[in-house]
Structure formats: structure tokens, C-alpha cells
Amino acid sequence: MAALSLSRLVKHFAGGVIGVDDVTLTVGDGAFTALVGPSGCGKTTILRCVAGLEEPTSGEVRIGGRDVTWLPPRDRDVAMVFQNYALYPHLTVAENIGFPLKVRKTAPVEAARRVRQAAELLEIGALLDRKPAQLSGGQRQRAALARALVREPALFLFDEPLSNLDAQVRAQTRAELVALHRRLGATMLYVTHDQVEAMTMAQSVAVMAGGRVLQEGPPMALYREPASLAVARFIGSPSINTVAGRTTGTRFEGALACDARVGACTAAVLAVRPEHLVLGPAIDASRASVVLVEPLGPESLVRLRLRSGEDLVARVPGEASCRMGDEVGVRVAPGAGLCFRAGDGARLA
């Protein structure tokens, strides 16, 4: 096991495309870090640089303290699970899992033992003689996982490994991956564009956009204290409500108003999580009309439209007391409003 650290990693592609733009990131020994971000933000590129499949334009990659920036992939002791699993179609599952051992010239008996062990760990022991084409998506995923862990690498890389699975299998595999991580105690870097996946699985989440890491931290820290509007918008589902306005030093004034001790008087954006919107009588509150009520069982989502035209979502426990077409008052729960500077989205308070 080993820690991974990237420092000032930059990757430019031919034609001036910027894949990764000055990323510094550390994944502690045995930690599980998720990289999230919208499509095309450079997540895969970072993984490929770590794996050695891509040569960084500048910067350094260290695994377990060793500078591996210029080492070929096979000398890095890194395993990767690809989005489409990249199983070798001409080999059986057993041969697929055993491939890393075979090219490293592990003794056949030992290799067979480890293949069996990995397969049993992932409960695909019965499928060893099949070809990948004869497996379901979930089984393929497990085979790919087994191939990655059979050689006990220092670092696991995952590139959206669950995105090709259906919702049910995905939820199940998510839990299994977390359990696996705990069991192996391995260092894992996990790429996904699904923030739910990142939040539920990782100990630490790095949010990326445009080739940069915007913020990194434990999931709940990111949720509660986003450093920028982009992070606030990306994390959380349904996504955070935003309203434009101004800060006066102590308050935010706009279509919604709340206390905000930011000390600066400037154009700003107020962001409020759906669960922090309080619905009540329209006294001393912004007025909004209820557009839609979505009951989810334990809670309900209420979609609102403010007088000034902004759309909001509120999350209320249990069944909502209002109905479509009602006029309600909307307030921000005390201390729950997040203010960001209007221009660059930097956090004010």
C-alpha cells in the first residue's frame, strides 16, 4: 500500500487542448478518494497520468514516495478498472484474472491459487471458464475488479466503473466496493461524474472543473462548506438553490434575504440547500408559488417559483403541507445561507 501524490500536474494535448491544469492532490496511504466533475473536466486524464498511460506535460507523480512520473505503467504497481472493463475478449475469465500474474511470470501454481482466491472474494468462482462475452455487466465488472486486485497493487484506479451498470446492481456494487476497500486497506482513486457515488463511497472527494481541482475534502465538509459556487452547485442532489443579490455587510438582500456576516458590500449569489429552505406563512418572508410537489416517502420535494422568477427546490420532511398552486412564504434557515461573490463565485461566508 502506498500514498499517491500529484504535484502541479499539467497535461496539454496536441492542438492546445488542456486536459489537466495544475493539479496538486494527495491520496493518503489506504485512503479512498473520489474525483468528481462534469464530463470532459480531465478526470480520466489524471488517472491516465497516474497510471503512466499518458505523459504529463509537467509536474510530478509520486507513489509511495517514489517519483514515477517517467516510469512505464508496468513499473508503477498500479491497477485500474476501466469504464468498459477492458476484459480481454479472447481469454476466459480465469485467464483474464491471471493475466497480470502471467506477464509477470508468477509460478503457475501460485498464480492459479491467487486467481481462485480473487475470484472467490468477488463471488465469480463459478464463472472462471467463461469468456467475457458470456457474462452479464455486473459479472464483467467483478471480473475486471478481480483482475485488478489479484496482483495486490499499491494503488487502485477506477474510471467510472459503475456507469455501465443498471441502478440496482450499481447500488449493490457500491456497497461492496466500500467493503472491499475496508478489507484490503488499499489506496484507491475513484473517478466518477456521479456525485452521489462520490459522496457515499469516498472518504475524501475532489471536485474538478476545467482541468483544475476546485476543492478537496471529506464529503460532508464539501457539502456544508463549499469553497466556491461551482462546488456548491455540483455537490448535493437536488442541487443547491441560488439567488442573485447583494450583501450589505451583515445581510444578503435579494429575492431571498438572510443574515450573512461577510463584511463586504458587493454583488453576490446566495446559495441555500433544499433542506434549509423553510416554508411557512407568507408573513415576513419571500413569496413563492408552489409549482410541483414530489413526495418521496420520508421526505418531499417542493418546487417553487419566486415572484421575481427564480426557481427553487425545498426539501421538507414527511408529507408536504402545501399543494400545487399554493402561495407560500420561503425563508432561509438561520445560519444556513452561503454567500458567494457574483463574479468568480468565491465564497464570502
Binding site: 503512466g52 491497477a79 493475466f99 506477464v103 496482483r151
Partner: protein, 273 residues
């Protein structure tokens, strides 16, 4: 409706005539190969032998050392297939997968060689092979067709159509570049390899001109040249000639029938050479 029926009938008729046209000479070859030496000299000629004379085959094939010729043809074909498949796979893979200094100009050079008609290079090729001391050697016989630019392009196209992830996965699994190539890329490219191999085999088996000029000694003769010289020696014995011709046909026909799929794939690539 009757219009469509008539059209279909016409279609079947055309198909039948075409098939007959294509097969008839081969059937005639076989039929003559089983006739008696003097039976063929009748007007009108008999369509079928009165009594099939299978002895024509052993007689014809031992009148000249055809075993030797078959061996030489097989050597030529095997070397050509091996050479073309190996070089096409390697170069096609490099062009499809690697980014390297000089790729674009090099590729242009390869494209350029595709334009140059090999037939116009007979004289200098022969003189070069001669200067290497390889005239009348097996090496000289097989030398010029060991690489086919056509095959390189086919392999390149094929590799480009394959996903790269498997190769990357192999790299991470600890495979060297060579292992990535032989253990992952090549097995995935099997259909294209079969096509290159098939065309290489057919071309090598049918080659006459180069073997004729570079392998002059009788013990290096290939089947095609052997049958051609047999034709000169037993000019009047048509059954024997036809028997030799049938024997020359068999290997290439068998290979073709076994590998039709690969053949049609090559055709789709514009590979009618």
C-alpha cells in the same frame, strides 16, 4: 406480381449461366485430366472420359519432380505469408497506436510505395538480389514479397477500429510493449491477420514471373513454373497437362474455400490485387 416473378426467373437464369460459365472450364479441366491420351483427339470431343483414367495424375506428377515443386511453392507461400503477416501486423500496429517522431512523413513514404507498380521494378530488384548473391537461392525466391504495403494499411485500419482500453489494461497489468502487442492486440486482430495471410498465400501461390527469373535452376522451380514447363515438354498430352493443372489448383482452392470470409473482408477493403 407477374412482373416480379419474371424478374426473379430472369435472376435465377442469370445466376445459373454465370455460375456455369465460371465453373465449366474447371470441370472441363477435370474431365480431360481423366481421359486417355488419345481419347481427346476426336471431333467432336467427348465431354466425359469413356473410362476415367486416374493414372494420369501419378504419371503426370512424376514425369517432372512435382513433389519438389510443391515443396518449393509451399516454402515460398509460407515465407510470404509469415513475412507479410508479421511485418504488416507490426507496422500497422505502430502506425495505428504509437505517436512517434517521424510518423507522418514515414506514413507518406509507405503510401507512396503503394503507388509504385512492383512489376516495373523487376529489373532493379533482380539486379539487387543478384548483387546480394541470392539469385537461385530460396532466400532470393522469397525475398521481394516478404512485405506488402497493402497489408500494412489493412492492419492499420483494423487496429484503428479496435478499442485501446484492452491494450492500456495490459500495460497496467504489467505487460511490456511487446507483450501488449502479442498477447492482446494480435489476438484481437485475428480476422485481419487471416485476410492478410490469405491474400499473401494466394499471391505467392500464383506468382510466376519472379520465380521464373530468380529461380532458374530446376530444383528451385515452383509449381506454377513447373506446370508451365511441363506444358512445353508434353505439349501434345492434354490429359497429363490438365492433371498437372488440377494438382496446381487444389491447394489454393482449398485454402480459399476454407477462408472465404477472410477473402470477402479483404475485398471490402479494396484489396483486389
Amino acid at each position: 406480381m407477374p412482373d416480379r416473378r419474371a424478374r426473379q426467373a430472369l435472376g435465377y437464369a442469370a445466376a445459373f449461366v454465370l455460375a456455369l460459365l465460371m465453373v465449366a472450364p474447371f470441370l472441363w479441366m477435370l474431365s480431360t485430366a481423366l481421359m486417355d491420351e488419345f481419347e481427346v483427339y476426336q471431333a467432336p470431343p467427348p465431354l466425359l472420359p469413356a473410362a476415367p483414367r486416374f493414372a494420369n495424375f501419378p504419371e503426370a506428377l512424376t514425369a517432372l519432380p512435382f513433389t519438389l515443386y510443391f515443396r518449393n511453392s509451399l516454402i515460398l507461400a509460407a515465407a510470404t505469408v509469415a513475412g507479410q503477416v508479421i511485418t504488416a501486423a507490426m507496422a500497422g500496429y505502430a502506425f495505428a497506436r504509437h505517436r512517434f517522431a517521424g510518423r507522418t512523413p514515414l506514413f507518406a513514404v509507405y503510401l507512396g510505395t503503394l503507388m509504385i507498380p512492383g512489376i516495373a521494378l523487376l529489373v532493379p530488384r533482380f539486379l539487387i538480389v543478384d548483387a546480394m548473391g541470392l539469385v537461385d537461392t530460396v532466400a532470393g525466391l522469397v525475398s521481394v514479397e516478404l512485405v506488402a504495403a497493402w497489408g500494412i494499411f489493412l492492419m492499420r485500419q483494423y487496429f484503428l477500429s479496435l478499442p485501446r482500453d484492452m491494450e492500456d489494461a495490459a500495460r497496467l497489468d504489467g505487460a511490456s510493449e511487446w507483450q501488449v502487442f502479442t498477447r492482446v492486440a494480435l489476438p484481437l486482430a485475428r480476422p485481419a491477420l487471416a485476410t492478410v495471410a490469405l491474400f499473401a498465400f494466394i499471391d505467392a501461390w500464383k506468382a510466376l514471373l519472379w520465380p521464373l527469373i530468380v529461380a532458374r535452376s530446376p530444383n528451385l522451380r515452383v509449381v506454377e513454373a513447373g506446370v508451365a514447363s511441363f506444358h512445353g515438354m508434353y505439349y501434345a498430352n492434354w490429359p497429363w497437362q490438365m492433371a498437372a493443372a488440377v494438382a496446381a489448383l487444389v491447394p489454393v482452392l482449398v485454402v480459399f474455400l476454407v477462408a472465404q470470409k477472410a477473402f470477402l473482408r479483404g475485398l471490402a477493403f479494396g484489396g483486389f490485387k
